[in-house]
Amino acid sequence: MDHERKNRPLTSRHLLGLEGLAAEEIKTILDASEAMKEILDRPIKKVPTLRGVTVVNLFFEASTRTRISFELAEKRLSADLVNFTKIGSSVSKGETLLDTARNIEAMRVEVVVIRHQSPGAPGFLADRLHSVVINAGDGAHEHPTQALLDMLTLRQKFGDLKGLRVAILGDISHSRVAMSNVYGLKAMGAEVMLCGPPTLMPRNIDALGVKVSYKVDEAIAWADALNVLRLQLERQQSALLPSLREYALTFGITLQRLGKAKRTPVILHPGPINRGVEIESAVADSDASVILDQVTNGVAVRMAVLVLLSAPEVLM
């Protein structure tokens, strides 16, 4: 990849998070995603754009959806890809992230997609590698491609993100999806409300310029769209929640609850769904739900990010 690095469409060489990204950069990614989506509608869903580019998918944490989505995106673009998961790799034998990074560097890989339980792990790699690094989720820090696909889905539904009211519901304090959505949506001029139990609301979250509510009915009445987060089922073990049952009764999104509002908001969910906990099946499968659109958009967004970071001249 000896192309000119000047006039890049994105300021950073990497995608570590959405914090600090300008509206123009996010718009560039979303526009490119639309172009990629068109490829996905073709009978032969493959283009040669990243031929000769090697991508390693480093997944230190269990993930099905995001990993498959990245893999598909890479395959659609004709990249060579290598999957590296924690189970069965040398990581379980005690290799440090630093040594993993050095090995990747020695193997001359162009793009690294990383999912890691430690916040900042993608930046740790970016500081030490010549490769492009894409964050596929780091602890409770950021999950930028998820927020981008959420925004793409919302833009398709509403036309514009400016002034849109988006409520994010659930376990905010452990959610990288919430954080990336806050940064991205705020940059695009949307209004954001975070709603969940006080025990799952991170400290000083209001400093990010969001509304905070503990009442789900308030969020439903206010929002144009609800992004319902997955509840990690182990939260009740650490005094954060008394029971899943009480969470479902207090915060679960049901048709009955939605029926109380004047209009039904669009329903998003990053998946995988705990049916009957944070969202009931009737809502997840209803006309208001765009959950499967999100999945399709996920592949398009990841294709766009891969192209913009590793072969931007194609789109310029």
């Binding site: 914090e19 440090t96 992230l97 630093l98 890691h116 339980q117 430690s118 916040p119 900042g120 792990a121 930046g123 740790f124 780091d138 602890g139 409770a140 820090h141 950021e142 304090s173 990288r176 954080m179 991170p202 400290r203 000083n204 979250i205 400093a207 990010l208």
Partner: protein, 434 residues
Amino acid sequence: MESYILPDRLCLKNARLIDPALNLDQVGDLLLERGIITSVGSVSASGNTLSWNLNGAIICPGFFDLHVHLREPGNEVAETIRSGQESAAAGGFTAVAAMPNTTPPLDQAGVVRWVIEQASFFPVSVYPVAAITRGRKGEELTEMVELRQSGAIAFSDDGSWVLSAEVMRRALEYSLLVDAPIISHAEEPTLSKGGQMHEGEMSTRLGLPGLPRISEDVATLRDLMLAEYTGGRLHLAHVSTSGALAALEAAQARGVKVSGEATPHHLVLTDGAVVGYDTSTKMKPPLREAEDASSLWKAIKSGVIAAIATDHAPHTSEDKEVPYDEASFGALGLETAVALLWDHGVGKGLLDPFEMVRRFCHGPRAIVGLPIPALKEGAPVELTVFHPDEEWQVDKTRFYSKSVNSPFVGWKLTGRPWGILKGQRWAGRVEPKF
């Protein structure tokens, strides 16, 4: 670093002599004869006197760091007693108090005596702090009387809070036998469990689990109440929150026998320094907020906090060059403390030079009852030398410590320690010229 034996008669010329206890701050000379100060002010050197022109460097009574981790025995890769002493000399400290969280811990007289013996080959004095409880487990008291007789100057389970209020109560009571303070690492562990940095806007942004201020505040309040009830002497290590400071000040006003220390990093840095996930910014207590730092400066100025202590905590690169939440807690402190306080304290008008010298020299020694050096005729030589105008950049390849985990690497500072004079010896980063 080697130490230098000084000539029998040495005149230090053209120095700024500062001793707040004597209300002394003047440019002049100092005559040293075989480890004793024999003349202060204007010295007319006779033929057989060697002299060293200090070009305006400050000479003051020797600084004492009440809180360092020397890692020996047990983790000699990170630091040894000798490398820690060299780091102290390079930082301008004539003496340090060594914390007991070594392997084995300093919970038996034999280990305490061994540390003192190991330290006897270099001019920086090492005063061991022994553990409060056996194995630092918070259950059974150590043999404090024997430990005190063996040279321990205080007792601490540093790194762990004594969880049982009953054990802490008995430790404070029993310590009345030995006239030494019980040092508390105030951290209520159920509130701080899993935490990686100060809980607040920054931890939220960085996605790191928080170490909430109430963990320190709750622990501090309990220990203050126990000290008040028992009459034992309590010292609060590395106070970092405005809440703990307010509690300390109120307790002192009620006559509770309690003192406190603050670290340079809690004075100069805030949790904003964690952005970028530099693991050198990871320590306990964590870097707090600007409001806390500002309360700390006021408490240092007023004397509510009587000592600046570095909590020098060396860690190997294996323990630090990892993702933030996997890294060990702790940062180096000995070699940057004096410059940070001079530049960011005195330089910004937050402290005057007398106050700075008191917090580095007199305050910490009073807490543990050590004799205080002075710049007067007849006093034994125990002096710190630093140049107030020397500009330098903190360079991680030039630490005397065996570790490099300083959050100040790359910082440009004004004022630089040269070294120490102790008895008839010089040790420091500058070679003596006479």
